[in-house]
């Protein structure tokens, strides 16, 4: 490395400065000097570079540098690499994406992106990746994309282009075009690990917004993971302390969590193998900290995937026993991650029992010496709570609250408040715990917490008297202001319910509140005044004392208090109390809306860039999409099994169903409900490749043959059907003289769920010249269907090539001829009867068809699997047939009557079957085939 002597001297000077003032002096002197030099204007490249470097150092030390930006921009267009490099560094440090000078560099950046020198490409990409915003993205994204996909790009340019595109996408998603998807996914197969790593990061961001367009990445991720983890297919350079590139492993494992578990048994199997292998490797004792961390980084991500999949029960058993050990680990990082993983588990698990086994250890984590661990412990305790353990857990949390860190208290109070409300089985317990919580928590209480208590008490009759009684006791002693707020409200509304009890007479209630007025804030005083006007209505016997207070406060320096007191005074001294009674009428129940506590809790976690696949909280919280969207539909009306005043739980209503208004409010927040048109599915029948139908028609009735062929590839098919099951093998051969890469197949099954397709194997992703690979599908009929599945085959041969072909798999594959005598036929025909078990169509052949004749008709009918029964129909030209259609849950008998009119080139088809929808689907399919006539060469 070459150094600039002036710069080294300058840095040494600053380091030797004994005091900040001396340092500042030296800096100012240097800044003045540089300003002078720049003004002079006759500097060469080296000098400019040196001075910009000094400015950078000054800037890094925290000083303001408000000049020299133009000189930095000039350096970018220098022909010397070292000058250009410093220019770019200065731009990335001095500028931000909205900087006014940024537009000056866009052209220089474009020039460097197009340059044939890769090092210049890289500098330009760095600059865009560091300061690029929407404007830059719109100007340069196509150039960046070109560097990413060009077959001539070097690996080290490609990976930078991928991440630069990621930056631009984050700033403005519009810059990534829909058509890029397939090409970008194919790069996940790149031979260079750096490229795969970078492209995977890009794909992960895209997948979260556009899961459908990037669906192909799922299988790619599963395959790549297996190759790395199971087959150990990693260059030695990418072993990190014996762990095969942990970064890519973590990314692939995370990507798999962005989709629901695969339906394909083969894909599930590959993922299972990788997960099992990761579990096994984690049993090795690591040799050093790095290996330990890398291994655990992968392990915990794998655990998260396992929990997400929720299907691998045997692996899950292993995990849950290991998690029990992790939360007791001596290593703080492992304890922290163990608690975090267990919280994820609690969010998904059917039963909390495996977690409850460790309840004491988890409660103990609240006393861990590290606050990071204590926070995680709190999250887990909150998530593992249910009706059976709410009592001890809330007790323990209340005990801990008194010694808890200030930073954590507010969240704790919120969580305890939610738990007491959610799992209360006893009204008294709810009131006792919540009030104790408020008295212990002191100032660390959000307004939402005490407001929520008021709402609950108001809406639940059985709580009111007990709440008023308990609150009065608190008020008589020294208590926190939040209790005063609840107290005055509850007494104002429900004080009369306890007025006959000893120690709770109106005057005692009044005195208790009056005593609190002195020490309270104005806000609370105002609330107490409002309670007093309610007292005037409830307890006329203490009216003189109340009026006295109003008079007193009508002179308050606080205008709000003054006005309130004055208005209340007038209201209380009106000649009749009609108005007073109306005003102080009992409050109606609060409307059922999303809990203010939950929305408060989730406010904190909202706004992260990564898609959260789960929220802290139990399974019920996570099953509720709306809670995942920040709020939940807990009704204000709670069900308590033990009711204080003895009324039946039924009359109090079970937890009310979510008000539709709440759902309506949230609809606007639902990010997944987009109004944009669905993304194009390139594997669908709408994108069939020209000439796809030649092979399709040729193989319509045949089991094997060539489905598609051109100069580069050949796609062959071999299939066999038995009953409702079909095994279809697709053979892909590379006919060219060079290898192809990233071979990808995507199946589109429009007939699901009546046609079930399971992938049994995947094709090799790279194919040598003249090589062949195959893929096997199990295709099962589960009912009638009319749409044949389509397959998208894509690969890289320089550019991306792709074909969409239709597979000749329709109902006829599952038809079996059956023999009936004429008599039986008529009997069955009559038994089945007409609609809906009959379908009848009359149709002509399509214009371009040349001819229909008896041979063609009979061959087609037999091709569909009918046994032709002769001498049934009085008209010998008509064809009568019987067959059985097989599907997974049974079979259905089908009867056919086909009346051809060869002169007019028309048919009338009638099909009856013992199951609905079958005749319609069959008739439609036969019509399609017959209407083509005998033009197709395979009948010749």
């Amino acid at each position: 490395m070459s150094s600039m002597r002036g710069l080294v001297q300058f840095i040494a000077d600053l380091r030797n400065a004994r005091a900040r003032e001396l340092e500042e002096k030296r800096v100012n002197k240097e800044l003045a000097n540089i300003r002078q030099k720049f003004k002079g204007g006759s500097l060469n490249g080296y000098q400019k570079k040196k001075y910009v470097c000094k400015l950078l150092y000054v800037y890094i030390q925290g000083y303001d540098v408000d000049f020299g930006h133009l000189e930095a921009v000039n350096l970018i267009s220098s022909t010397k690499y070292s000058e250009k490099q410093i220019g770019y560094l200065a731009v990335t440090l001095f500028f931000h994406e909205q900087h006014e000078l940024l537009h000056l560099v866009v052209n220089s950046i474009r020039k460097d992106l197009l340059d044939h020198n890769e090092l210049n490409n890289c500098l330009a990409l760095h600059a865009v990746a560091n300061v690029g915003g929407r404007e830059m993205g719109e100007a340069l994204s196509t150039d960046v994309h070109r560097l990413l996909i060009s077959p001539t790009s070097k690996a080290f340019v490609k990976k930078k282009a991928a991440l630069t595109l990621l930056r631009l996408y984050r700033k403005y998603p519009g810059i990534v075009q829909i058509e890029w998807a397939e090409r970008i996914i194919s790069l996940m197969d790149d031979a260079d690990m750096g490229v795969t790593l970078s492209v995977t990061s890009l794909v992960m961001a895209l997948v979260q917004d556009k899961p459908e367009e990037y669906r192909g990445s799922y299988v790619k991720a599963a395959q790549r993971l297996k190759r790395i983890v199971v087959e150990n297919d990693v260059a030695p350079d990418y072993l990190y302390y014996r762990v095969p590139c942990p970064w890519i492993q973590v990314k692939l494992l995370r990507l798999l969590q962005y989709y629901p578990p695969s339906e394909d048994s083969h894909v599930r199997e590959i993922i299972r193998e990788s997960l099992q292998q990761i579990m096994n490797i984690a049993m090795d004792t690591p040799k050093n900290v790095q290996q330990n961390n890398a291994q655990n980084a992968v392990l915990f991500e794998a655990i998260n995937l396992l929990i997400h999949l929720d299907t691998e029960h045997s692996l899950m058993m292993q995990v849950s026993s290991r998690l029990g050990k992790y939360i007791q680990s001596r290593e703080t990082n492992v304890r922290y991650l163990g608690l975090e993983a267990m919280t994820h588990f609690a969010a998904r698990a059917e039963t909390l029992d495996p977690i409850k086994k460790h309840q004491n250890i988890i409660l103990g984590s609240l006393r861990d010496r590290d606050i990071s661990v204590r926070r995680k412990g709190l999250d887990l305790i909150y998530s593992m709570c249910d009706t059976t353990n709410a009592g001890p857990i809330v007790n323990e949390l209340l005990r801990y609250l008194q010694t808890a860190d200030y930073g954590i208290r507010e969240e704790m109070v919120l969580k305890v408040a939610i738990l007491t409300e959610k799992y209360a089985t006893d009204a008294q317990w709810y009131i006792d715990m919540t009030l104790k919580l408020l008295s212990l928590a002191g100032d660390h209480v959000n307004d939402e917490v005490w407001q929520r208590v008021i709402q609950i008490v108001t809406n639940n009759e059985e709580l009111q008297a007990y709440a008023a009684h308990t609150l009065l006791n608190y008020l008589k002693a020294d208590c926190h202001e939040s209790l005063v707020k609840i107290g005055c409200y509850v007494l104002g509304e429900f004080g009369h319910l306890i007025a006959d009890n000893q120690g709770s007479s109106p005057i005692e209630q009044f005195l208790a509140l009056q005593a609190k007025m002195i020490t309270s804030t104005d806000n609370t005083r105002a609330m107490i005044l409002s309670s007093f006007i309610k007292f005037v209505n409830l307890f006329p016997e203490i009216k003189p004392q109340l009026l006295h207070i109003f008079r007193l406060y009508s002179h308050s320096p606080d205008s709000e208090l003054q006005q309130r007191a004055f208005e209340y005074l007038s209201l209380a001294t009106l000649p009749t109390d009609d108005l007073l009674r109306t005003v102080c009428d009992e409050m109606p129940p609060f409307s059922e809306r999303a809990s203010i506590l939950l929305s408060r809790l989730h406010q904190k976690t909202a706004g992260t860039t990564d898609k959260k696949t789960w929220v802290v909280g139990g399974k019920d919280a996570n099953q509720d999409k709306k809670e995942v969207l920040m709020a939940q539909n807990t009704g204000l009306k709670r069900t308590f099994t033990t009711i204080v005043n003895g009324t039946n739980a039924g009359t109090n209503g079970t937890a009310a169903s979510p008000a539709s208004s709440a759902t309506g409010d949230l609809a606007g927040l639902d990010l997944s409900a987009s109004s944009a048109p669905p993304p194009p599915n390139m594997a669908s029948a709408a994108h069939l490749t020209p000439d796809w139908d030649i092979g399709y028609n040729r193989l319509y009735f045949k089991g094997q043959g060539v489905l598609f062929e051109d100069a580069q590839i050949q796609v062959g098919l071999r299939s066999e059907y038995r009953g409702h099951i079909g095994v279809v093998k697709v053979y892909i051969s590379n006919k060219s003289t060079f290898p192809i890469g990233s071979l990808t197949t995507t199946l589109d099954n429009r007939a699901a769920p009546n046609l079930k397709i399971d992938t049994k194997s995947l094709p090799d992703s790279s194919l040598s010249a003249a090589g062949q690979t195959q893929q096997t599908f199990f295709i099962e009929a589960h009912g009638p269907f009319t749409d044949a599945p389509t397959i998208r085959i894509s690969y890289l041969a320089g550019a991306l090539q792709a074909y969409t072909l239709q597979l000749p798999v329709l109902m006829h594959r599952y038809m079996e001829p059956s023999t009936l005598s004429a008599e039986e036929f008529f009997k069955r025909w009559r038994q089945i009867g007409g609609s809906p078990l009959e379908a009848q169509n009359t149709f002509g052949v399509v214009a371009k068809a040349k001819d229909i004749n008896e041979t063609f008709t009979r061959q087609t009918v037999e091709g569909f699997g009918w046994r032709i029964v002769d001498n049934v129909d009085p008209n010998p030209k008509n064809i009568v047939g019987c067959a059985v259609y097989h599907f997974a849950t049974g079979k259905t008998g089908c009867l056919l009557r086909l009346e051809p009119n060869y002169e007019k080139m028309m048919y009338r088809i009638t099909i009856r079957a013992t199951q609905e929808a079958v005749p319609q689907a069959l008739a439609k399919q036969m019509e399609q085939k017959l209407a083509q006539g005998s033009t197709s060469d395979h009948y010749a």
């Binding site: 490395m1 070459s2 150094s3 840095i11 380091r15 470097c53 950078l56 150092y57 010397k80 690499y81 070292s82 490099q85 410093i86 560094l89 994406e97 909205q98 090092l119 890289c122 760095h126 915003g133 080290f156 990976k159 930078k160 991440l163 630069t164 990621l166 984050r170 690990m193 790593l197 970078s198 990061s201 350079d237 990418y238 990190y240 590139c245 942990p246 970064w247 890519i248 973590v250 990314k251 995370r254 790095q290 961390n293 890398a294 655990n296 980084a297 915990f300 991500e301 703080t332 304890r335 991650l337 010496r369 590290d370 990071s372 904190k604 706004g607 860039t609 990564d610 898609k611 959260k612």
Partner: protein, 154 residues
């Protein structure tokens, strides 16, 4: 998974004063916001004792830090990010500098701060791991160096 910031600086053990050496931001923030985050986070990190875990929560994100002698390396990331792998990103960066400078010390970073940035650009881009092969990163940097040497000798 966006590390939002990677900053490294040292603590003068005696005065417990932390002086920032370098910082790299991957999100756009105003200088004021940046200053506040640096101040808050360094305070949090410096108050941690040994054998505590390497992660802590800060607002809605997470801080992953590690100490190398008197130098602290602090990375900020999203709360959903994988903590340990972020920690190893930091370690890989330190190793990379070690390999480049040959037993790196604080002074190397101070006097060749621009190199510290160039190495980081080869390792992380847009806040994501770009290259985990030590050899590949080193090859890129030495390529740059030899180009620079050539230009100087002209």
């Amino acid at each position: 998974m966006i590390p939002r910031v990677l900053t490294w600086g040292s603590e003068h053990l005696v005065t417990a004063k932390y002086s920032r050496r370098l910082a790299k931001w991957f999100t756009t923030l105003s200088p004021k916001e940046k200053a506040k985050i640096i101040k808050d986070v360094t305070q949090l990190v410096l108050s941690r004792r040994t054998r505590m875990c390497n992660f802590l929560e800060y607002k809605d994100s997470k801080v992953v830090y590690r100490r190398y002698a008197s130098l602290f390396f602090i990375a900020g990331c999203a709360s959903t990010d994988n903590e340990l792998i972020t920690l190893e990103v930091v370690h890989r960066y330190v190793e990379q500098m070690d390999k480049y400078y040959g037993n790196v010390c604080e002074l190397d970073i101070i006097f060749n701060f621009q190199k510290a940035y160039f190495i980081l650009d080869e390792l992380l881009l847009a806040g994501e791991m770009q290259e985990s092969s030590k050899k590949n990163v080193l090859r890129c940097i030495s390529q740059q160096d030899s180009l620079e040497d050539m230009e100087v000798s002209y």
